[in-house]
Amino acid sequence: MYEHDVIVVGAGGAGLRAAIAAHEAGADVAMVSKLHPVRSHTGAAEGGINAALQEGDDWELHAYDTMKGSDYLGDAPAVETLAQDAPEETINLEHWGMPFSREEDGRVSQRPFGGLSYPRTTYAGAETGHHLLHTMYEQVVKRGIQVYDEWYVMDLATTNESDPNDRECHGVVAYDVQSGTIEGFKADQGVVLATGGPGQAFDHTTNAVSCTGDGHAMAYRAGAPLEDMEFIQFHPTSLPSTGVLISEGVRGEGGILYNNEGERFMFEHGYANNSGELASRDVVARAELTEVNEGRGVDDEYVHLDMRHLGEERIMDRLENILHLAEDFEGVDGLVEPMPVKPGQHYAMGGIEVDENGQTCVNGLYAAGECACVSVHGGNRLGGNALPELIVFGKRAGRHAAGDDLGEPEIRTGYGDDVEDETETELPVQPGDAGLDTSGGVAADGGVTADAEGILERKVETARERVDTLMDKEDGVQHAEIRAKLQKAMTDYVNVFRTEEGVKKALEIIRECRQEYQDVYVDDPSKTFNTDLQQTIETRNLIDVAETIALGALVRNEFRGAHWRQENQIRDDENWLKHTLISWDDGEPSIFYRPVILEGQNKTYEPKERSY
């Protein structure tokens, strides 16, 4: 058994920032990650970091833009914390040597991005995430922070009180990919989940193969609710064949979208008469699919993104990386022809419910970054707001886990007297594991809560038994088949446009996947680097997470941000200014709602029509 004060799970932007912060607060911190830190998907972020750095800009403007972008589903304390802390955190990265793009006077460059009232997106070429990731990993090396890389965290060691608000997380159980050893990692002060997004629940995604929602699923099964999972951002400009992302920076620099008739449809068809291509991402994604559905798509599949008019010099200076991506992954030369693009799953606004200090309702369990929902992004994330979230809330989670006093949070978590139960929607199938599976999230036996070490040991034992069962089975279904079926169902029915009938269909297929998973087996008999085993465990996580996305999409019968429902195509502020929360509840998920907080420090954010 390993033991540290703070265990950070995942080593992308949020995890690295949390680890550095915990270390600076004096804790003995270790990172446990299924990838070496520099392999993390933060490295693929292209656009930039929103931060009100310049004279004339103001954190309150950033907060306002973010709240409007969220379609009034962001919580004001979270949104304001992001806007207030982003400038300092961005400058901090510069002081750590991050190679930001520069102006003639030597200051860091900022550019316009969709949904922003001021050009406040700080960037490093079109490779901002790569530089952010490497810069922070450098700081982890400098501080000598222990990294257990290629250790796959399978489970949390959490106590089993009946109310999740009374539970406590004492550590994690991880699997050494290289050797097959399973060990407990005891966390004396806290566990920070920073495991990234669940994009692999969809089959056309900009996300890495590693983005399998592991942290979501583990926290969910341990009793922390998942929040606003129905809000999935589909990025308007992904390459059709692979899902590789073409940065919003292209449109920020002046790139134009055309349909197959050569019309600049964002204006000519009235989707966004003021902002055009730079409208919020959900607006542009729906516009593109509407063009395709109405027969104005190229090859009935995509639209064109043209940047040729920017000229070679400007493209090479600011968007060179885009040329490589278009060439390598689509065979298109962006200097001489327009690039084909279509919406692809890109980001999950929802996630593990946390407060401004990163803490879940389970004591000692934290989450930060894309796997968490503070909630900053509400119904829709603005471009350039993910990276500041990583550094602002990664830092807060790390500090709080290490014992720093950050004050009482305003955001509440877990089931409580301020929530409202879901009572109206009829579910087509029984979600959850319904007793078919033995790998729940809390310590299994019903006895009195044992000491931390006892709980961890029991969980290690359970994990070993689970792996033995998967490995010993001689035949059955392989995870790849189940995963493909799940991904297809999500992209077919829980995509940009959603109907009640379609989402119900998806829930039925997810239920089938869950049943098929009972017969899953691992063919590779090896203990050494068994990716077959790892992916089989990941697939279970994807099933749990996909189900929460579909459940959220079913119950929320309105159109807000990235979530569109055919049956009620309006934003219904009277009934839906509230977060959707789904709690695993011993394998029989329950759904409840918590009101959104629109009261900020100096003002209340009154919901207005979101037009661009």
């Binding site: 070496h36 450098e138 090896s526």
Partner: protein, 290 residues
């Protein structure tokens, strides 16, 4: 780039249609008979063309894989298919034990550097149609093989850490003044290419010197040091400290400018030029003390 010029070679493909999409005859024997997954077979037959892969296999603890061997896979060709796509297909449809690292699929995580047809390449950014068949896919040379295409990267990481790969400056303004250090666009441009490294290890694997001298820092680590040494935001003293690390016995002077690292770098970093420039900087520094 053309994606359709390659007509897959067929002469090496097994005659028997039962064998389509399966492993080599040798592998079949080890599996105990000519069993081919029905689903896989159907999928392979649906498409016209197939791509012939010869993939290195090794597992220290599985009987039949302890002696390294090559397995043949025939995967249906699709427009735009990369080497990574092809091995993912082979794994998901034919043999789930086929093991390799991969994550982002877009040449930024640096996980999937393989030795493809005798050259270090990133699997995700190498088009199958640009390669001669059969496509031979092996783990990176000069590194210990863990299993199949997975190599031990620990030595590579150790060398990266040797050059103190983190920004060092004592004069940075306080963060809460919100005042950034100034850097000219020209200086940022100067370090741009060096900052693109994704730690894939292709350069180190291609380098003869690194193969013969285990302590040689290697192109990636030297390039990492270049990024800091050329950054005007770090002071002169720190630069001199960096040059002292680089001019040690197993540092820049070991490079014999064979350019193999530069040739294989998937991010087009001019590694050899960077090493040469650091040699000149080291000479300049030493002259200063005469």
């Amino acid at each position: 780039m053309s994606t359709q010029q390659a007509e897959p070679e067929t002469q090496e493909a097994p005659e028997d249609p039962e064998m389509k999409g399966a492993e080599s005859p040798a592998a079949e024997e080890q599996k105990g008979g000519g069993m081919v997954d029905d689903h896989a077979e159907k999928k392979a037959e649906l498409e016209g063309e197939t791509v012939h892969l010869k993939v290195f296999r090794y597992d220290p603890e599985v009987e039949g894989k302890q002696e390294p061997r090559f397995d043949d896979f025939h995967v249906p060709f699709e427009k735009g298919m990369t080497v990574l796509d092809s091995v993912m297909y082979a794994r998901d449809e034919y043999d789930s034990s086929l093991t390799f690292r991969h994550s982002c699929r877009q040449a930024v995580c640096g996980s999937d550097a393989f030795f493809v047809n005798g050259k270090q390449r990133l699997g995700c950014k190498t088009q199958i149609s640009d390669l001669e068949q059969p496509v031979r896919i092996e783990p990176l040379p000069h590194q210990e093989v863990v299993k199949d295409l997975v190599v031990d990267m620990d030595h590579f990481y150790d060398q990266m850490h040797t050059v103190e790969p983190y920004f060092q400056d004592e004069d940075t303004p306080p963060v809460d003044d919100l005042d950034e250090q100034r850097q000219s666009p020209e200086n940022r441009e100067k370090i741009k290419m060096s900052s693109r490294c994704i730690w894939c290890g292709a350069c180190m694997s291609s380098c003869n010197i690194a193969a013969g001298d285990n302590e040689y820092l290697g192109p990636a680590a030297i390039n990492k040091a270049y990024k800091f040494a050329m950054d005007d935001r770090e002071g002169e003293e720190i630069k001199e400290h960096r040059l002292r690390i680089l001019e040690q016995e197993h540092g820049v002077w070991r490079c014999q400018t064979q350019f193999s690292c530069t040739e294989v770098c998937p991010k087009d970093i001019p590694l050899t030029e960077h090493i040469q420039e650091l040699k000149r900087e080291a000479v300049k520094k030493n002259l200063k003390f005469w």
